[in-house]
Symmetry: C2
Subunit: 130 residues, 2 copies
């Protein structure tokens, strides 16, 4: 960690709670491409942004390959109409998936609430008896 906002692999390891092995693996998978200083990896702000995107994608259950493809898609700035429209259709698909996940989460949260109420009632019953 220094003033120029560049980071070593152990800096990232600590800040993102990942092993260095994992970070190198993400690089070998084409998800990161840090600069080098005498062989050593030097990470900059844009690498941090990418790493955050990777971790968010993982939390949402996407594979590294999906994350890579998506980042590339969102990153590239095509100039042809066909390509731009293709980007829009892919994003629309991703949006549907995310909306499905939102619904799944809400359903799950509701079911959890039902279980919680059930358990709490049982607890009260026990305490009433005791």
């Amino acid at each position: 960690m220094n003033q120029n906002s560049t980071y070593s692999i152990s800096d990232l390891s600590k800040n993102f709670d990942l092993t260095a092995r994992t970070i190198r693996f993400y690089e070998s998978a084409g998800l990161l491409s840090p600069k080098r200083d005498n062989g050593k990896r030097i990470y900059q702000e844009r690498d941090l942004v990418r790493l955050k995107l990777i971790l968010r994608g993982k939390r949402l259950g996407f594979s590294l390959n999906e994350i890579k493809t998506t980042m590339e898609l969102y990153d590239t700035q095509p100039n042809e109409t066909a390509q731009l429209e293709y980007v829009l259709t892919v994003i629309a698909t991703h949006k549907k998936e995310l909306l499905q996940k939102q619904m799944d989460i809400e359903t799950t949260l509701e079911e959890m609430e039902a279980v919680v109420k059930n358990v709490q009632q049982k607890l009260e019953t026990i305490r009433g008896e005791g």
Copy 2:
């Protein structure tokens, strides 16, 4: 498919768009336990409910082991105070995870919207020039 609401493995395969192999695998992992008729698996309503839970869990990015543990936890009806309170703490943890996912999804949806606007502007520019 018959009147008694029992289903064969191929019924499930069709209705849930899974291979029979996958359904058997879920059973071997302890996630399903259908009855048998002369060796053949017979699925009932409660099996369908479980299968829906499995698929929803998978869509949310949980492993089969996590799904199994969760289903067992929510299923069992412990009678001891300590156990009941334990259930509540685990559910609280799961709830936090889901709320995190909700936030991740909303952030991602917002970023997607930004990309969409960007792409749409590019398209308009191109069409204005053309």
